[in-house]
């Protein structure tokens, strides 16, 4: 049991991160933290925290020396994104454990519900661990192969090929086999088989609780399959053709690979901050206007129809037509319309004018068009129209 509050341990990790980082590096390089090395690091940082490191169970004693406990080692590995490559042989244990759990789940599907549930949970843990391991390995292999490509150490081509062959032979090809869905004994293939089974059971199982568990397992496997496909694509596209890729070398690419290792810690080329408008900028006025306009608080405006504003006018065709008939022959129909409107309303409104024009389409009105093509002009408050002269005969 750890006496300290969990939050105290988390704070402790934050406060003494530099020391823990050094201990992590030491364990990485030497596999162990010697008693005197621990004392020296603490002395250098002027923090006497050896007892707390032991009390909080961050360090595990090994005779008179120490090592970081697995959980803290993995935490550091994860937050620093520095993973040790696992030999693909290590993944075989997942194949064995998953196959065994799957077999027992299948066989015990009608047996004790409690143990069935436990086996499903354990299978999920194994799948999670396996995926985690594959992802860590791909990250590490990408890192190693990019280093080879960048070749900052200026390795001889022969040495580079030797290193690349090592990675390919012992890590990349075997990992590719683990992820190869077409290979019968691959973990990926086993997962596919389990996924089919979980899919059937999630739709067809008497007990609801277990049905939900199969559903969760199935969803996890769908996601795992996508993730493994992504890892497999990296292997095929980037890691397997490694020998081919390290054949060419370029200083530019070395720079870019170095930059991409941590792009947020390198000072990039300076470029002008163009946020302000110079005196010559033609957009200065608009930028300033736009800037100030954002602070203007506009009053809300409501628009309401006011029906009393104008009286709705209805065109009485019969009356107007009768009036026209009384005055025939009319020499210029459009001028007649204009005069009529002027007499009645004191203006020529376009809407009323067009309404009167519809009389021209009346079959019993006889029209005659001017051969000379003479025109007449009609002016409304908003437009000017040039219309032909049309004579109304009857």
């Amino acid at each position: 049991m750890i006496k300290a509050e969990p939050i105290s341990i988390i704070r402790f990790l934050g406060n003494y991160y530099d020391i823990i980082r050094e201990l992590y590096n030491l364990q990485n390089s030497e596999g162990i933290i010697k008693h005197e090395q621990l004392a020296e690091i603490c002395r250098r940082y002027d923090h006497d925290i050896q007892q707390q490191l032991k009390d909080y169970k961050i360090l595990r004693p090994l005779n008179s020396d120490y090592e970081l406990r697995d959980v803290y080692y993995k935490l550091m590995e994860f937050i620093l994104y520095e993973f040790k490559p696992m030999l693909p042989e290590t993944f075989e244990k997942y194949f064995v454990s998953m196959s065994e759990l799957y077999r027992k789940i299948k066989e015990g599907v009608n047996g004790d519900k409690m143990i069935l549930s436990e086996r499903i949970i354990n299978l999920q843990v194994q799948i999670r661990e396996f995926l985690d391991g594959v992802e860590k390995n791909t990250v590490r292999l990408l890192h190693e192969t990019r280093e080879l490509k960048a070749n900052v150490d200026k390795m001889d081509y022969r040495v580079k090929v030797h290193k690349a062959s090592f990675w390919i032979e012992y890590y990349i090809i075997p990992l590719n086999q683990v992820l190869n869905i077409n290979y019968q004994d691959s973990v990926a293939n086993k997962l596919l088989e389990i996924s089919d089974f979980a899919n059937q059971r999630r739709l067809n199982f008497d007990e609801e609780g277990l049905r939900v568990q199969f559903e969760k397992l199935y969803n996890q496997l769908i996601q795992t399959n996508d993730d493994l496909l992504r890892q497999s694509k990296i292997l095929t596209n980037e890691l397997l053709p490694l020998i081919e890729r390290i054949r060419t070398e370029s200083l530019i690419l070395t720079g870019w690979i170095e930059f991409l290792r941590n792009p947020y810690k390198v000072t990039t080329p300076k470029i002008l901050k163009s946020g302000r408008s110079g005196a010559y900028n033609k957009n200065l006025f608009f930028h300033t206007k736009e800037f100030f306009e954002q602070f203007i608080e506009e009053e809300e405006v409501f628009i309401e129809d006011n029906p009393v504003d104008h009286e709705q006018w209805i065109f009485n065709k019969t009356n107007v037509k009768a009036k026209l008939k009384e005055q025939v022959p009319v020499q210029d129909f459009f001028s007649w319309c204009k005069d009529e409107l002027m007499n009645e309303f004191n203006e020529v409104d376009a809407e009323k004018f067009f309404a009167m024009c519809t009389l021209l389409f009346e079959e019993d009105i006889e029209k005659e068009f001017s051969d000379k093509g003479s025109k007449t002009k009609i002016k409304t408050p908003h437009s000017k129209m040039t219309v032909p002269k049309i004579k109304i005969l009857n």
């Binding site: 990408l142 960048a150 900052v152 150490d153 200026k154 992504r230 694509k233 990296i234 596209n237 980037e238 081919e244 890729r245 060419t248 370029s250 200083l251 530019i252 690419l253 070395t254 720079g255 870019w256 690979i257 170095e258 930059f259 991409l260 792009p263 947020y264 390198v266 990039t268 080329p269 300076k270 470029i271 002008l272 901050k273 163009s274 946020g275 110079g278 010559y280 900028n281 033609k282």
Partner: protein
């Protein structure tokens, strides 16, 4: 006082953060009056003018770091992916036309996907389009159509940056003679 020819255009472009390229007719006027402009930008705005045979641009003490970083990441991933694809990335950048669809494909399938997804200017098609537009405004790329673009000679600023970084890192690991 008499100003050099096309003074207004030169100042307007440079002050907007654009790279002035030899294809622009007033590039020669700037080159001929390089000393004057060096002094002009230094005295007026405390900006430093850089003029080469391929481009000219000004930098302020207060730099637009985010954009520069995003463009550098863009170049880095593009070069890396072109090389991975077995293509000569420098030739491609110098002479080829790029299609947005091709850029999208390259970025979506890149093993730097985590970095891409965490970058606001690179994370998806729209973000990348907006970065290309920003580069277009600064004359780092030239848009041929809405979906196609070429790089201008301003790409050399970023390539030079990669070379310098590689050199400095190589020096760091060189064994000491002492």
């Amino acid at each position: 006082m008499e100003y050099p020819k096309n003074h207004k255009d030169i100042v307007e472009d440079l002050m907007a953060g654009k790279f002035l390229l030899p294809s622009v007719k007033y590039f020669d006027s700037l080159k001929e009056n390089e000393t004057f402009y060096n002094e002009f930008f230094k005295e007026s705005f405390n900006y430093t003018l850089t003029v080469t045979n391929d481009f000219a641009y000004v930098i302020s003490p207060d730099t637009q770091e985010t954009l520069s970083r995003d463009i550098s990441i863009f170049f880095a991933i593009l070069c890396y992916e072109l090389d991975r694809d077995g293509r000569n990335f420098l030739d491609q950048i110098q002479y080829s036309e790029f299609e947005m669809e091709e850029i999208d494909r390259m970025f979506e399938n890149s093993s730097f996907i985590d970095l891409i997804l965490s970058n606001k200017q690179l994370k998806d098609t729209d973000a990348r389009r907006s970065l290309i537009n920003a580069m277009n405004r600064r004359h780092i790329v030239e848009k041929v159509t809405e979906d196609r673009f070429t790089f201008t000679s301003a790409y050399k600023v970023f390539i030079e940056f990669a070379i310098e970084l590689a050199k400095s890192r190589s020096k760091e690991v060189e064994p000491s003679n002492n």
